[in-house]
Symmetry: D3
Subunit: 145 residues, 6 copies
């Protein structure tokens, strides 16, 4: 775990994205609240927030930090039969917050997987990436795409 | 959390896959052990095993289970400038082990992200899927692709 | 932590109850989904399930067990301006499952507290008790009231 | 998890209370140190402190914070055959500390339940409330009763 | 994490030992219950039991298991100004329980360190070893000394 | 957990040491990377870093803190057939960081134990001590030996 003592305390923010492609039948079940284990989207959002907080216990070299904000939002993509997940993390610290956003997004996606798999086991998580980060030495950064 | 009491105790096995595309420079740094935080592949494998064990604390409706095996393997894909991650989980229980394999793979991928991001922040995790599972009511299953 | 090796593996089940009295204004906010942090009841239920799974890390002398089921249900009590929480835990093991049910109920109640406190800080958790348990040496037990 | 970035860092303190009514025989066993699993009061106090520290892993929308103090005290109430639990939490942060105090009190009460239940399963936790909090935008607050 | 599926489920037991040498003044403070943070021995024993349960989250390749018993005992050694710690772990499983006993002993020793360090920072943990184990392929084993 | 609110925020650093004596055959297996479970030293170092971060969940009265650095290094001692472990922890906080360094060292030692025990069960952890600490009221401190 790198020494971050010399880094400045600045407000840092990171936004991560990922999606899970679930297929037509499972998509309809999610959209219509018909999954056997209950309403998937709020469960995934809540699990994502808890996941963001668990980041330093999961990622070995991540610093333990006091997140000032974590939020996870889901969006149905009817065309792709996919659920988009956006995870935002914010902190005032010496170290960045990308991994918290990414872990939040990923745990939300895995939670959707768990809820959807009785309908379709051939799921796919893809396109997990960092969309934006700010704060720290490098200032604002946006994904080039 | 569903009642699994009526299900049979059988040997269950699941194999999950995912990859992280890191770009040319970061790929060389991983391959040549030149990352600032150390040798990425064994760290990711170990973090993935711990991640598989953490599954029931992360995924709300997953049953707490006593994994009889978890292992994570990484493979360099020179053409795609990617690192492939395979995670295997096994258990003798009443409930499946897919989520453990998927969580193991995902935590390994996120650990690679954390180690590689000083070199390239525009990383991409994709193609996360279940390749194989066996045991339980449905027997053996392979991903259709 | 007592030695449970000699005890029989039987199906054990426990049902715990508790309630939080929130007052008129906060009750209306919960009922109408108007709380600033979102829809309280499904969040509390999910947190309660995760709480039930966390029992052996919280209660020092509880055995680590593999719950075969945990579920938490909430019910609005309009007269008392209260939210009732019921938590059910099941297992096939050598040791009872009361503490898991009680911890699940209590974590759900605390989660409701956290969500409701911006509206009313003078909340009250009361009537936390075990309603029913079965399995083990003593067989079925119901709360005398 | 709400954004607390704009809030001031102030010293915040919260005191929570709750009690467990154990009945005459169990009360005597606690008071006289005759419980089969050992001396209940110090165990409950220690578990309560660990519980206060676990708050952000249990309550989904609680911020992870660096408690500057947590303490839990128990008191025997001979008349009611009850054990009173007081939990104090303090912090210098942008967010309140009520949930830490309440979780500390509740985990201590559940630990007492676990230790006392071999003597009497018909226990009751009640009167869990916040007695006092200070710091933050609203300053000092006392429970109206 | 090795595959233990082929191993037999047998009763397994392990006893670990370790000690902390605290010096004359700190020894007297422990013995007489005069430490600033409270009565050290029961706190250390309880922390050791929780530590034994945390083993699979701490030791990467340890299997998650359902301990059927964990207990930790301390003993004052007046001559050496030391506190001896004994930790016993038992299980009926396919995998051994040494690491649980050793982790329990070690966490108890570290807890004593934390409680004693205001009196003397030059503490020493030594002689941590496995005294005995039974069960599994190799049957009974005693430390050769 | 003591109130640390009045203490100054200073940079604090602690270095802990410990060793595990493994015997000739196991030493050769570690040195030559021939252990059945894989390359022991990097695994132990990584586990030690995660262990340092877990300190406040293991040691009851330790404050939860945001480590600014944790690192663990191992060294082979051919003469003693031992592996030396050094763990460094740093923080800018109101409370010391000795327990984080000691817990990091100890978890690394236990991880080595777990990896080496198939070769030799009669292992020994000894000489665990604090070598150095700085920061806080007492300034710099070195172990008297």
């Amino acid at each position: 775990m790198a020494d971050v003592h010399e880094k400045a305390v600045t407000r840092r923010r990171a936004l991560a994205y990922g999606r899970i492609i679930v297929g037509e039948a499972a998509f309809a079940a999610v959209r219509d609240g018909k999954l056997p284990k209950g309403d998937a989207l709020p469960m995934a959002e809540l699990a994502g927030i808890l996941g963001a907080k668990a980041t330093p216990t999961l990622i070995p070299l991540c610093h333990p930090i006091s997140l000032s904000r974590a939020s996870v939002h889901t969006r149905l993509d009817e065309c792709a039969h996919a659920i988009d997940v956006y995870a935002l993390a914010e902190i005032s610290e010496r170290t960045g917050v990308e991994m918290e956003a990414l872990t939040g997004a990923t745990v939300a996606l895995l939670t959707l997987w768990d809820l959807v798999k009785p309908v379709n086991p051939a799921l796919l998580i893809d396109a997990v990436r960092l969309l934006y980060k700010s704060g720290g030495k490098h200032g604002e950064w946006r994904h080039p795409d």
